[in-house]
């Protein structure tokens, strides 16, 4: 999604410079929420204030909303078709693969030293086997970041 955003914001409309965009991307990654939503809100605000932010955010969400609505409704309609079952049977393993690969990609840039490996392994153990709520996990990890770095 971000290459498209970059193209539209910097090249097509010249709303901001490339450096500004990189800063905004960094902030979007560090703040909670989907990166694309964060970036759109930020760019919208910089270009046209509060309403700019509102319009940009809505514009990112509405296509998703329409597409997912259509998918949900058609899945419901063809619920009894064997093809739907087959399609999902085919997608499921691929999705696990995607999650695994995404985990490895994030690990490559995030597990950079012994401290981060310690945080990662510790949290994996607590969340997976000790049923720690992931949200508390995130908070604990943030506090550990302040203490360790």
């Amino acid at each position: 999604m971000l290459p498209l955003l970059e193209e539209a914001v910097i090249k097509t409309n010249s709303w901001m410079t490339a450096t500004e965009f990189v800063d905004i991307f960094a902030i979007s990654e560090m703040t909670p929420g989907p990166i694309a939503i964060n970036a759109a809100t930020f760019v919208g605000y910089r270009v046209a204030g509060f309403f700019g932010a509102l319009v940009a955010t809505l514009a990112v969400v509405i296509p998703s909303f329409i597409v997912i609505s259509l998918i949900f409704l058609s899945l419901n309609k063809f619920r009894n078709s064997p093809y739907i079952d087959w399609v999902f049977q085919g997608i499921r393993p691929m999705v696990l693969g995607l999650i695994g690969a995404a985990g490895v990609t994030v690990a490559r840039t995030s597990l950079v030293d012994i401290k981060s490996i310690f945080i990662g392994l510790g949290l994996f153990y607590l969340v997976t086997f000790k049923k720690l709520n992931p949200i508390y996990g995130i908070i604990i990890a943030g506090l550990l970041g302040i203490i360790l770095y």
Partner: protein, 178 residues
Amino acid sequence: MLLKMFLTFLKIGAFTFGGGFAMIPIIQEEVVNKNKWIKDEEFVDTISVAQSSPGPIAVNASIFVGYKIKGFLGALVSTIGTVLPSFITILIIARFFSYFRDNIIFEKVFMGIRPAVVALIFSALYRLVYKSYLGYIALGFAFLATLILIFFKISPIYMVLLGIIVSVIYNKNLKSKT
């Protein structure tokens, strides 16, 4: 019910760092484990749809889960809940941009959260492998897909399409034989 959904997705939106995949474990915990609104198998299907559709994965997943729980209103509520924390946080940050950019505490918190996101993703994967009853053949394919995606720069959408094609052909042949 709708209020509870809104608050739950607000929580999901507020504690997801690092984008789509980081959100999966949090949605899983809140929607599947805690509130039992959908089952583990349904959750895998939700991620399938979210990943295969255009738009942010996290937003797509929230909309789909919202529909599953309470139809159109559910989808609307879960979407607003997911997006609102982002929207408010960014508005505040955009006002005090230079302050946040140079803030050392912010940087440190993020250093701690990044490895945590890795842990959460693998924890979600662990649970999906054990709870979605995929069978050894499907898990074998999943492992193979992971390796392919790691070592070759193939767009995920092609892997999804490949999975669909293989599955439909396999099932059709199976049916024509019996």
